[in-house]
Amino acid sequence: MTTKKEPIWVARDLAKCSGCRKCEITCSLFHENRIWPEASRIRVFMLVPGVEFPHFCAQCEDYPCVGACPVEALSISSKTGAVLVDKEKCTGCGQCIDACLGRIPHMHPTEGYILICDLCNGDPQCVKVCQEGEWNMLKIVPRKNYTYKLYARTPEEITRDLAVKLYGEIGEEFL
């Protein structure tokens, strides 16, 4: 893990996801002090059994969600590069969801503001548990000038790709 105070990116090898959902547990414990899968900023989808993967902020280089917010509730952390949500300002209008190519942000189930991965202030808890269990699907790398935006895909798109990768052409049939 990087210790330098520079913007980071969570590299992801989605096909390695075991579906253990420990990332959801640890994320919700960190942010809500409860085990609360729907309030986790990283959510594991399983639209097809075996094709589990975490859906969370891709940290696009042009941050379309931030630009789409009509009330300036979203900002970019200069320290980590994460999108930060101002809970007070957010009206839960959902325009950031539509602006995101992967439709990744989702509403807090009870509080009415949007949830986006904040990188735990530079020390992402999900990465820790994933590495601790040696699944190593998630890894922290220094943020570079790459097209991270490519990772902003909808759950259906990712599922289709991974299903084909895992099951071959019959993978399409399971959607």
Binding site: G19, C20, R21, I35, W36, P37, L47, G133
Partner: protein
């Protein structure tokens, strides 16, 4: 209210379509915990007085989906399915992994009690406190993979249309049946994902009898509050670190046992238990790992072990078959027990069994039984609708499995499970085929034999268990030891995966229970009072039995006849179960659990456990045991 519980249960009457929320007193939850323990309590209170007349596959039976206080907290979430079992006519706590229990608790419910019977196929859709019975006509008849795909899509669309600003909806979790369950086949499962199964008990048939195709749940709330979250986190870390060290379970799950249990401990069913030893290296775990496992670690909510693996056949005539590992039980029952020793054929059969909603253990047992009768020419090609189930012929077994799932031709008889089919075949063929039936009280023996003495079960494990042949709930002495059924009841009642507790100090699970619920519980109290009470209740309902079969302990607290034959091959050739030793151990076990010499729980222990009504109900068995069991004898 006790910490760790959502605090309420759903009760759904499918006959009247009435849906209500119910609660149990804290004292009930303290004594019966959840899952299997609570199931025995609910079933006894509601059906106990008429137990013998309750037909498992008729509307008066109930179907229970119960979490426990540790569900979602102790790593590796499960759910317990129960009711009056169409296999044993008693109660089985049948647990299965997955997110369903977590979704349910997050929706605000600790469990679901389903009563009555729907007129048409339906499914239950739970979104937090919105609960509805929905039409399932379009899903009825669909196999596992189709059912999961259709319901995932449909329910996500419902959620999306109702909550358009929420963002993308994760799939809800579901429990469902395949075609076999719909056809009330007794060897069926209640399934989760494609391959996870609550198998023992045959509750898929109960679900089918109620025309309930699936139960789907999405909970958006948090798991219930716990007494001490810091302690829960700390204990979780201990459990996880212990699991991370387990090379065996993590790398192979139970998938290395298909070879090892045969080759090393000589306790694997081979050709319907005619042998228990093999040295077929074609069935080595390396073959599974290198040829068919396409996903090396696959787990459910919170699991540090991820013992499951996804297998897919890539070449040959079984190309495209997908299942999990198969785990040891299915390697054995859909592999060696049928004379199959290649991963591809094994994966093919396991995949088909999943698709049909059958239980790999119970169905693999009945298939092996039929194949032996065919081998011995007791059943012929004509009896079997032209099929010839020869050892190793996966396609013939697949054809038979399909007939069972659809109750077509000979499949209708085999769909009754090994024991009931054996009784019928004995009658029509006038041959004592029960000697080839490897089961206990209507439940096929799990794939761990007792003749070599090298595997974990004791010689009384299946004969004295309140769950018959269930290898996950074996009876044993000492009563407070690790091989005791009382100890296993804890996992099934607190409802979590016991695979994540192997190798941990015994006290840890009680510490975990306290951290979640705030309640003190010691191993002694558990064994002497709570678990013992659950065991007596299960025993009472098992002995009351009915209506089609009743178990006379003098006859049926017994090993399958085959277990008294010497092992014919392998390093433990000649070893067998000593009948005198068995009788002696059984007597000691009866004494330890407070049963009389006929195996009926004594008044003394029942009164001590405050089960006066159970004591009363069993009086008729004590007075005239032989008369009570006139329903059938062997």
């Amino acid at each position: 209210m006790i910490f760790g519980y959502a605090g309420k249960f759903l009760e759904v009457n499918l006959s009247t379509e009435n849906i209500k929320e119910i609660k149990f007193d804290d004292d009930v939850l303290k004594d019966y915990i959840g899952g299997r323990g609570l199931a025995t309590k609910i079933l006894w209170d509601r059906l106990g007085s008429k137990w013998e007349t309750v037909e498992p596959l008729r509307p008066q039976n109930m179907l229970l989906f119960l979490t426990g206080p540790l569900t979602g907290f102790f790593p590796g979430a499960r759910i317990c399915v129960s009711g009056k079992s169409p296999q044993s006519n008693g109660v089985i706590g049948s647990t299965v992994g997955g997110e369903f229990g977590v979704e349910l608790k997050c929706a605000g419910y600790d469990g679901i009690i389903v009563t009555g019977e729907s007129k048409k196929p339906v499914y239950l859709f739970i979104k937090d406190s919105d609960v509805e019975i929905r039409d399932a006509g379009h899903i009825w008849g669909k196999d596992a993979k189709q059912t999961v795909a259709m319901l995932t899509k449909e329910c996500r669309e419902i959620l999306k249309s109702r909550f358009p600003r929420y963002g993308e909806w994760k799939e809800p979790a579901m429990m469902y049946i395949g075609p076999a369950g719909e056809n009330k086949v007794r060897t069926t499962v209640v399934a989760a994902k494609w391959t996870h199964a609550a198998g023992y008990g045959g509750y898929g048939a109960v679900m089918g009898s109620k025309k309930l195709k699936a139960v789907v749940a999405k909970g958006t709330g948090p798991l219930p509050e716990v007494a001490d979250m810091e302690k829960v986190k700390q204990l979780t870390q201990v459990v996880c670190e212990n699991a991370y060290e387990s090379e065996l379970w993590r790398r192979w799950g139970t998938g290395s046992a298909g070879y090892e249990v045969g080759a090393k401990t000589s306790s694997e069913p081979i050709r319907n238990w005619q042998e228990e030893w093999h040295d077929e290296k074609s069935f080595g775990v390396d073959k599974f790992e290198n040829r068919v496992w396409i996903k090396p670690y696959w787990g459910d909510f919170g699991c540090p072990t991820t013992c499951l693996k996804i297998a897919m056949v890539k070449t040959g005539k079984f190309k495209g078959a997908i299942t999990d590992n198969p785990d040891y039980e299915l390697q054995a029952y859909l592999g060696t027990n049928l004379g199959i020793f290649t991963p591809e054929a094994n994966v093919f059969l396991a995949s088909l069994i999943d698709d049909l909603g059958l239980c790999g253990i119970q169905t693999g047992n009945v298939l092996g039984f039929v194949a032996e009768l065919f081998q011995r020419r007791i059943l012929t090609k004509e009896d079997l609708d032209g099929l010839e189930p020869k050892w190793g012929d996966a396609e013939a077994f697949a054809a038979l499995a399909k007939k069972i799932a659809l109750r077509e031709g000979i499949g209708d008889l085999l769909a009754e499970g090994t024991y009931r089919a054996a009784l019928k075949i004995r009658e029509t063929k006038n041959v004592d085929v029960l000697q080839y039936a490897v089961q206990s009280k209507g439940i096929s023996i799990g794939a761990h034999g007792i003749r070599s003495g090298k595997d974990y079960p004791q010689i009384i494990s299946y004969a004295c268990s309140v769950q018959g042949g269930d290898h996950t709930s074996t009876a044993g002495l000492p009563l407070d030891g690790s091989g005791s059924e009382l100890v296993e009841i804890f996992n099934d009642s607190a409802v979590y995966c016991n695979f994540n507790s192997f190798g941990l100090p015994r006290k840890l699970k009680f510490d975990f229970y306290k951290a979640v619920t705030g309640l003190e519980l010691t191993h002694e109290e558990w064994c002497n009072t709570k678990a013992l009470r659950m065991l007596q209740l299960q025993r009472a309902m098992l002995l009351l039995g009915g209506p089609d079969l009743k178990w006379n302990p003098k006859i049926h607290d017994e090993n399958p006849p085959r277990f008294y034959k010497p092992l014919p091959t392998g390093p433990y050739k000649g070893k067998t179960v000593d009948k005198a030793k068995f009788e002696e151990d059984k007597r000691k076990y009866y004494e330890a659990v407070g049963w009389d010499e006929n195996g009926v729980p004594k008044s003394e222990i029942l009164r001590k456990l405050e089960l006066e009504d159970v004591d009363k109900a069993l009086e008729k068995l004590r007075v005239k045991l032989s008369e009570y069991f006139t329903v059938h004898t062997e």
